[in-house]
């Protein structure tokens, strides 16, 4: 499939829907970062270092999210552990 096929297919596929999907993903991502305290990136790195001491995970395997609630915020840590053999 050549470069131009991508455009041709997208045209048929309806680019407005592509725009909507991209926006939904991007905005959800930006919201999960908004309002995070300044120490957040550093804390994330330190947590990552501790985990790496025990398990062989890479940076892509760690997802840290701060969810804003009405009364309290939730810090969510998602760690993908290496595959079991």
């Amino acid at each position: 499939m050549g470069l131009f096929d991508i455009f041709r297919r997208d045209r048929k596929k309806n680019t407005a829907n592509v725009a909507k999907e991209r926006l939904q993903i991007l905005i959800a991502h930006e919201h999960s970062r908004a309002g995070a305290p300044d120490y957040f990136p550093e804390m994330r790195d330190e947590i990552m270092d501790v985990i790496k001491k025990y398990v062989a995970v890479d940076d892509k395997g760690l997802n840290v999210k701060l969810e804003k609630g009405d009364d309290y915020d939730v810090l969510e840590l998602n760690i993908t552990l290496p595959e079991r053999r």
């Binding site: 680019t15 407005a16 926006l23």
Partner: protein, 268 residues
């Protein structure tokens, strides 16, 4: 009671100034004493869109610096009663607007009996945009059906909800979405994000949809707010917007493809 309303968007060139001029003229034409302030320091434009550029003597920053009184700087519109324009300064000094200065001007407008104070925000999410939104009671978010505009609207909403004076006091700014340059034909072809999708993504109540219309350019050429072109679709949509803002229950128009007759196709 006076209300401070910011017209904002994050992204530039989406129709903030067009909307500010039309909306302020609409409010005034309905009998409400209205002032519209150009916050775009260094890039004054509202005066041109409203056709008062030759009557600018003093500006917003002159008033803040005590070089002129508010009364001297306010330009009274000659076509619409109750309508006053406060032009932006052409200074390059980005720090010309201070919180204290802006607050004192807004307070003076309030004691002068202005019912509505419309703040035309500059583009961006920096100081100028912040000054325009900081004292707002309500916000009009101007969005084009296009990815970068929707994303920037979302960012400016975040700032309204966290950095405004209302937010600092634990209050909520009432938000209104105005989608401009909308083209039902292109939505139908699948080329343009639909208004339903934009409302869905931003989750802000929809105040108005302004169609893409050549009359906007004609209006700005002549220095007449497009709302005064009562025959144009954009003008009518802005009139509906104003009435809806004031509490009237009016259905949205110009959302579907206009069935063009033969002559409309030729001359439309």
């Amino acid at each position: 009671m006076s209300k401070v309303i910011v017209v904002t968007s994050g992204k530039g060139g989406v129709g903030k100034t067009t909307t500010s001029a039309a909306f302020a003229a609409g409010l005034a034409s309905k009998g409400h004493r209205t002032a519209v302030i150009d916050f775009d320091v260094g890039l004054r434009n509202l005066d041109l869109i409203m056709g008062v550029e030759r009557r600018v003597v003093y500006d917003f920053v002159n008033v803040i610096n005590g070089e002129a009184t508010l009364r001297q700087a306010l330009i009274k519109d000659k076509r619409v009663d109750n309508l006053f324009i406060l032009p932006a300064s052409q200074t390059r000094d980005k720090d010309a607007l201070t919180k204290e200065g802006v607050e004192s001007v807004i307070n003076e407008l309030k004691t002068d009996g202005f019912e509505f104070i419309v703040c035309d925000s500059p583009a961006g999410i920096e100081k100028g945009a912040f000054m325009a939104l900081y004292f707002a009671d309500e916000a009009i978010i101007v969005t084009n059906p296009e990815v970068s505009s929707v994303r920037d609207s979302d960012r400016i909403l975040g700032i309204l909800q966290s950095k405004s004076r209302a937010a600092e006091n634990g209050d909520v700014i009432k938000e209104h979405l105005v989608i401009t340059r909308y083209s039902p034909e292109r939505v139908d072809m699948g080329d343009m994000i639909s208004l339903e999708d934009i409302v869905d993504i931003l989750s802000v109540p929809l105040l108005a949809v302004i169609p893409e219309s050549g009359s906007v350019l004609q209006a700005s050429n002549s220095g007449v707010p497009v709302i005064m072109d009562i025959k144009s679709r954009a003008g009518q949509a802005y009139m509906d917007m104003t009435a809806r803002f004031l509490g009237e229950d009016i259905p949205h128009r110009f959302l579907d493809i206009e069935k063009k007759g033969f002559f409309k196709k030729l001359f439309g």
